[in-house]
């Protein structure tokens, strides 16, 4: 198929897709009978719990949303890369450092791929990682608190898309770059890309306590590394990255980067890279990056700059990297639960290309190379090929697996999921998606032991699926029951932002580890006060610090005098509560920042710059108790330079 015919096909299918979606011919859970059955399958009775926690990336929202499956109920939105005024994320003094980078404070990013930590190739419920695509970073979310606790910046990277995919024991999460750039960055003509730009594949080590560090970066030819997945079982020790734009073009990529009939899946022997680093065979490159860490005991984040990374040039070390030719700009690279098959989804193709790890090893041993690119051997296409799935669809993107030897591939252009048999490559079933599915997710479907049962389709186009809400629509997720032979659509629900990938874990695995409160006696916040006897107001020049406490249903102090126009007033609010689900909020009129929302035992701080004289109210923003509405106070603001005495009280009158 030549380029022109591909483009024609692309246009045709878009037109067909639009016609289908404009026709008002809505399809769903298979008629009245099917609907009743579906309703039962997703019904979680009031007070009952869902079977799975599902973590959906927020895409351009920058956050992670947590849903229960099969009900599709939204449990929480976890702020990660974007400001969240509701939770004071990026607004209060405690979390502002989390969004610091070498470019300064960044209030937004594009979060694509949530990835659960694994033990022996199976999600273990310790942490969830997620990438920032725009300004390359990886965040780590603690699954005892469902809070973002660490964000690491990735130097030499640009477009952190093939990220953050874990090795089977979470020794590393990897982060490839979808943009090749000059490394180190320098001023040079864009059209000298070919041969000059490089791509860094970062291996971020994860310590036992979760702390992240860039262990090393492998410097690769300047292709665009799109997605990745780790080998497992027999292929443990290898990491596979898909790539496009092996043409190395820098303009009109939709045409220029589609010229090659085949791009590559890069197989990286990361155990060997680890050994090279241990043997000192690396170059230390000066490339500063920031690491932001939130300490649960000080309730505060700090930023640290690290100055260099260990780099390894792929071409310098034979045996480190091999390219497997894979047709049509492969997007997803997915490894089956056995670790033997490497599935490449050529996104402009109708077919899936499946490589065999055993055959790959044999081809390497036999030096069965068809080419070489920048010193890296290109394995003979036929030598690694295990099979082709003749899907009958168009535009395959991603594949997940169930616990019965089946695979499920999403097709964006033909807007469907195709179920096929691993090993025989035979198509077993297909189900339409509404509309244009991107990623799909089976609980544990990228791991050694998928839990199966459900499949979640994450669709890119919503159109008429819900009541219309003006031009902008939430994106649609669709849940399929895959426990039978046929996929059955059982639920449709709107999501937050644009979910790319998702992960899910059985609720049983993490329900018991959930924290209910932070222990007040363990609060090491430098401005915490642990009882009402300790509250105070201090002044140093124009910096005033108000140490407040909250407990149902009052602030201490709730009357404060002695503040002047022009002061910089810091509120340090400690929630003395030690009861589950009793947060208090704090807001003061005219503060150019968000509220504070303080969990039991926690301290949070913000700053207020009073601009006018007067008596200014503050109040609790979280309906904490029967007398929540009475949880309020006043601050008296006097003229600049009037030097009034600092006074504060609660319950008395001075």
């Amino acid at each position: 198929m030549n380029l022109k015919s591909i483009r024609n096909l692309f246009v045709l299918s878009l037109v067909l897709g639009l016609m289908a979606s404009c026709g008002g011919n809505k399809s769903g859970a298979g008629g009245p009978l099917g609907a009743g059955d579906a309703a039962q399958k997703v019904y979680v009775a009031p007070g009952e719990y869902d079977d799975f926690y599902a973590f959906l990336s927020g895409g351009f929202s920058g956050q992670v949303s947590v849903y229960g499956l099969p009900s599709g109920r939204l449990l929480k939105v976890i702020p990660v890369f974007s400001l969240d005024a509701e939770k004071a994320w990026g607004f209060n003094d405690e979390t502002k450092p989390m969004l610091e980078t070498r470019h300064g404070f960044i209030p937004w990013d594009d979060a694509h791929h949530p990835e659960l930590s694994q033990t022996d190739g199976v999600p273990d419920g310790r942490w969830l990682f997620i990438n920032a695509n725009n300004t390359p970073r990886i965040a780590r979310i603690d699954l005892t608190t469902f809070e973002t606790v660490e964000i690491i910046e990735l130097p030499n990277s640009a477009g952190n898309h093939s990220s953050p995919f874990t090795t089977p024991n979470t020794d590393y999460v990897v982060a490839g770059t979808r943009f090749a750039v000059p490394i180190p960055q320098r001023d040079m003509p864009i059209n000298e890309y070919a041969g000059n730009f490089k791509a860094a594949l970062s291996f971020v080590s994860i310590a036992d306590d979760g702390r992240m560090d860039i262990a090393f970066q492998i410097l690769m030819p300047g292709f665009n590394y799109d997605l990745a997945h780790s080998g497992k079982g027999p292929s443990d020790g290898w990491m596979f990255f898909s790539s496009y734009n092996t043409e190395e073009s820098n303009t009109l990529l939709e045409v220029e980067a589609s010229k090659h009939d085949k791009d590559f899946i890069a197989a990286i022997n990361w155990k060997m890279a680890e050994q090279l680093v241990a043997d000192g065979k690396f170059e230390e490159m000066n490339s500063p990056y920031m690491v932001n860490f939130y300490d649960e005991h000080t309730h505060m984040a700090t930023s640290e700059t690290r100055n260099s990374v260990k780099t390894i040039k792929a071409a310098d070390h034979p045996g480190l990297v091999y390219f497997m030719p894979t047709p049509k700009s492969p997007h997803g690279v997915d490894i089956d639960p056995s670790g033997e098959y490497i599935v490449g989804s050529g996104k402009l193709s109708a077919d899936l290309t499946v490589h065999s790890f055993t055959k790959m090893k044999a081809a390497i041993a036999a030096e069965d190379f068809e080419d070489e690119r920048y010193g890296i051997p290109v394995l003979n296409f036929d030598a690694t090929l295990a099979g082709v799935v003749k899907s009958g669809g168009l535009g395959p993107l991603h594949t997940e697996f169930d616990n019965n030897g089946n695979a499920y591939t999403s097709f964006f252009i033909s807007s469907e999921i195709v179920k096929w048999k691993v090993g025989t490559w035979e198509v077993l079933d297909r189900a339409p998606c509404y509309y244009s599915i991107g990623h799909l997710m089976v609980p544990g479907g990228d791991s050694k032991q998928p839990w199966g049962k459900y499949l979640l389709a994450l669709n890119k186009i919503t159109k008429d699926r819900y009541l219309p809400t003006g031009p902008e629509l939430n994106q649609a997720a669709q849940l399929f029951d895959i426990s039978g032979g046929k996929m059955q659509l059982i639920l449709d629900f709107p999501t937050i932002g644009e979910p790319h990938y998702a992960q899910a874990i059985p609720a049983d695995l993490i329900i018991e580890q959930q924290k209910q409160i932070y222990k007040l006696e363990e609060n090491m916040h430098p401005y915490a006060v642990k009882s009402e006897d300790e509250v105070k107001v201090t002044r140093e020049g124009n910096v005033v610090r108000i140490y407040l406490t909250t407990i149902r249903s009052h602030f201490a102090p709730d009357n404060i005098e002695g503040i002047m126009v022009g002061d910089e007033v810091h509120f340090h609010v400690t929630n003395l509560e030690q009861d589950f689900d009793v947060p208090h909020g704090f807001a003061i009129m005219g503060a150019q920042t968000s509220e504070l929302l303080i969990m039991p035992g926690q301290t949070e701080s913000n700053v207020w710059y009073p601009k006018y004289e007067g008596v200014i109210p503050f109040y609790c923003t979280d309906f904490c108790s029967a007398l929540h509405q009475e949880m309020q106070g006043y601050i008296r603001v006097s003229a600049k330079g009037s030097n009034p005495e600092l006074k504060w009280w609660v319950g008395t009158d001075e």
């Binding site: 409160i517 407990i551 249903s553 509560e577 030690q578 108790s625 029967a626």
Partner: protein, 186 residues
């Protein structure tokens, strides 16, 4: 008598009484355990949480440190247990009977004292309380179940009290046994 003394010592290992407050917002209930020398909760912060609830109705905060019984009750029990060991050695049933009568008296007094504390907490309310309901008292039941506003209060003896009862039973047995032996010997 030796066993009766040991049973008394076991009172230190278990709570005497349990008061549980149940409400929709507290699916697991708020449980308070009264021991010979302390008050604990089902969780470390339970007492604080009960006090926060109670302050709305003007009830005094329950502060174990300000309840003198929790200081001296333990010594009384140790004295009773010590006497029991001594009596076991003396082996005089009349002395055992005296010990038993005083112990039962003390037990009854303790329950009455407990009732008085409950009465005090339930009736002696801050006149400036946020929630005031005419004619309402908040005294939890001595034993059994009672609905107090939005809470259902449950009050039941625990193992500690059962061991005290066991001690009394053992004391009674020793008296009977002692009298019987005496008769046989006499």
């Amino acid at each position: 008598m030796l066993a009766a003394g040991l049973a008394l010592m076991l009172m230190f290992a278990f709570p005497l009484w349990r008061i549980t407050l149940e409400a929709p917002q507290y699916p697991k209930g708020l449980s308070m355990f009264i021991w010979v020398n302390k008050i604990t909760g089902s969780e470390p912060s339970t007492l604080q949480n009960i006090n926060i609830m109670n302050h709305y109705i003007g009830m005094k905060a329950i502060e174990p440190d300000s309840i003198p019984e929790l200081q001296f009750m333990q010594y009384i029990i140790i004295v009773f247990a010590g006497l029991a060991f001594l009596l076991a050695w003396l082996n005089k049933w009349q002395a055992n009977l005296v010990w038993l009568v005083i112990l039962v008296g003390a037990g009854a007094l303790a329950i009455y004292d407990f009732y008085l504390w409950e009465y005090d907490y339930g009736h002696n309310l801050d006149p400036h309380a946020a929630i005031k309901i005419e004619g309402m008292a908040y005294q939890p039941p001595l034993i059994g179940k009672k609905i107090i506003l939005n809470f259902t209060a449950l009050s039941w003896p625990q193992l500690g009290s059962l061991f005290m009862t066991l001690s009394m039973i053992l004391g009674t047995l020793s008296v009977f046994k002692g009298r019987k032996q005496k008769r046989i010997i006499g």
